[in-house]
Amino acid sequence: MDFTRLFEPQTMVVIGLSLHNERHPGNVIFNKNFFRYPVKTYGVNPKGKAYHSERIFSRISDIPEQIDLAVIAVRAEYVPGVVEECVEAGVGGVAVIAGGFSETGRTDLQERLVEIARRADLPLIGPNCLGIYASGMVDTFFPPTERMVLPNPGKVAIVSQSGGVLVDQMVKFSQQGIGLSKAVSIGNKAIVRELDLLEFLARDEKTGVIAFYLEGFAKNEGREFVLAASRCPKPVIVMKAGKSPGGGRAVSSHTASIAGDYAVFSSVMRQYGIVEARDEYQMVSFCESLSHYPKTVQGNVCIISGSGGHGAVAIDTCSESKLNVPPIPEDIQQGLRDKLSNSIQRIASLGNPIDLTGSATDDDFVTAATELSKIPEIDCLIVLLLPYLPEVTSDVGARLSQVHRVYQKPLVAYVPHVEKYRMIIEGFELNNIPVSHSIEGAVLMVEAMRRYRPC
């Protein structure tokens, strides 16, 4: 299956837009693409005529141009016929938004779709889905644009069986400053499934990290998925719904009883270096971290802070995540101490966590990050930055980012996310350094790298 025309369409058609109901999903999809995206957008309604000033075609074959993407928003029973027309018209891909298939017991209708699409080797997304969102290219999601929160274009692609979870993740990506390349809602996944998209996104130049919200695999499909993910040159992150055991199933062996569906899922993901997020917060932190640093670390962390309390909390959180916070060698400590500003030279603690105290300046943070980036005992830095310290300025984010550019040692920052600290946060983020709004989130970012195993 070739997904190029599906995800990067020059032309698209919305089949089933209403001539009078502006809030019909077909109309919303038509309008947002017509007004906001470079894709040339057509509409189809059997009655033909016009929608506002746009000509509406009675059927896809009347459109005088080759169509790359067809979005189908007609009632389920008409969908197979419409897909056949799309195949005849030579479309490059189809997103079936309509529901009313296997999820409501109409497996017969879904089987007809599968048969038509298989025969034509047609990439068909859905049915019963939102379809695809490709930053700056196309958006087949039926929520109106003004209701959605769109992340900036970026490197993370996310695939979800649930459309609702997907739209919600986009809100969280946006809040956390994570860039999105593509979002795909696969619904009933009659033809295009997780594995197909994993293989496509592994080759997609705009995507650097691939995230999945999974509900379940078909028989042996999980095996194929992990084998493909282990060959994928990009980090793969998964979050699974349905973790609780089914219950009531009698099992006659200890192994079958201990190795329930979720226990197996979680273990196998870890075995193949796929990073499993337990919840949405982990998902967001892992996506952010691995989109900046698609690499693995041992997890030997140095914590740099201007507050002893923050350092202590970070130590506890690291220890719960089984990350090491090794002591800093005496000679390194002495070398660093000599370079710190006079006011803190005697009072800073340099053991690890590094506490530069409330009198620390931007220079002190940069010096500490620089010296600790040089030593092999440490493979990752967490900087807990408190913008309310009097000597810290709004330049500190951008300046610390330069340390990473020189030494290439992953650095993650914690900065409280409130509007007045925005310049510090952007100083990091615009220079490609991930920032969390909690200490726990910063530690999760390191954990993501520790769990990821490149192929």
Partner: protein, 223 residues
């Protein structure tokens, strides 16, 4: 590869849904796993002869198609030191439902591990390795990997256990022979792949491990 004899054991057990312990041990032994010296005795006299060949003390276990969980049913007697006790145990087991004989076995000690497998719906055959014994589901200290295993998987499974020091040796106790544990688990993984979907799940529990041996003391193969 499964031999005809191994295949025959599975085929003969299909109707029952699981493999009787002596047959399971024969199968495992043919796959290259270490099992204790054992005899299947159908009469009291055979039991006495078997025990003296193996050497006291011995273990006696019920063999019955009706008893899948032998210890739960009171069908295991450990530490039988003489003929008199053995004869008594034989009499008691004989009254149990579906009695087809008793299994007489040498007694082994060591660290009790579980090595198991199941065919998972989404991922196919998986292997479990962990702290075994009768309290296996109390401790729940196990590692799971998709089969077939690679050699590096076994040490990584062991080190991921909470109680890994029980295996690696602590406070002067001798460590389990990691090379033997690795080869035992690898041979098991191969067997599981060969059996494929013919088998639903397997418990080798306990596998008694010392610095010199890794021996499958009990085996349950569910078809």
């Amino acid at each position: 590869m499964l031999t005809d004899e191994m295949r025959a054991i599975i085929d003969a057990s299909r109707e029952r849904g699981w493999v009787l312990e002596p047959d399971a041990k024969r199968l495992l032994s043919m796959a290259g796993l270490d099992v204790p010296r054992f005899k299947w005795a159908k009469s009291s006299k055979e039991a006495v002869t078997a025990a003296s060949e193996i050497g006291y003390p011995v273990v006696a276990k019920i063999i019955s198609p009706n008893v899948l969980h032998k210890s739960d049913a009171g069908g295991v007697e450990v530490g039988i030191t003489d003929e008199k006790r053995l004869t008594e145990v034989f009499k008691r087991f004989k009254k149990m439902e579906g009695f087809e004989g008793i299994l007489i076995e040498e007694i082994l000690t060591g660290t009790e591990l579980i090595i198991g497998s199941k065919v998972d719906e989404q991922f196919g055959p998986v292997i479990l390795l962990g702290i075994g014994g009768i309290a296996v589901e109390v401790y729940m200290d196990t590692a799971i990997r998709m089969a077939p295993l690679s050699k590096a998987d076994v040490p990584s499974m062991v080190s991921s256990l909470e109680a890994h020091s029980l295996i690696e040796g602590f406070r002067g106790s001798k460590a389990v022979n990691m090379e033997l544990l690795t080869s035992t688990t690898m041979k098991f993984s191969e067997l599981v792949m060969d059996l494929g979907e013919d088998v639903t799940s397997i418990d080798l529990n306990p596998v008694m491990c010392t610095s010199r041996r890794c021996t499958v003391v009990d085996a349950r193969i569910i078809l």
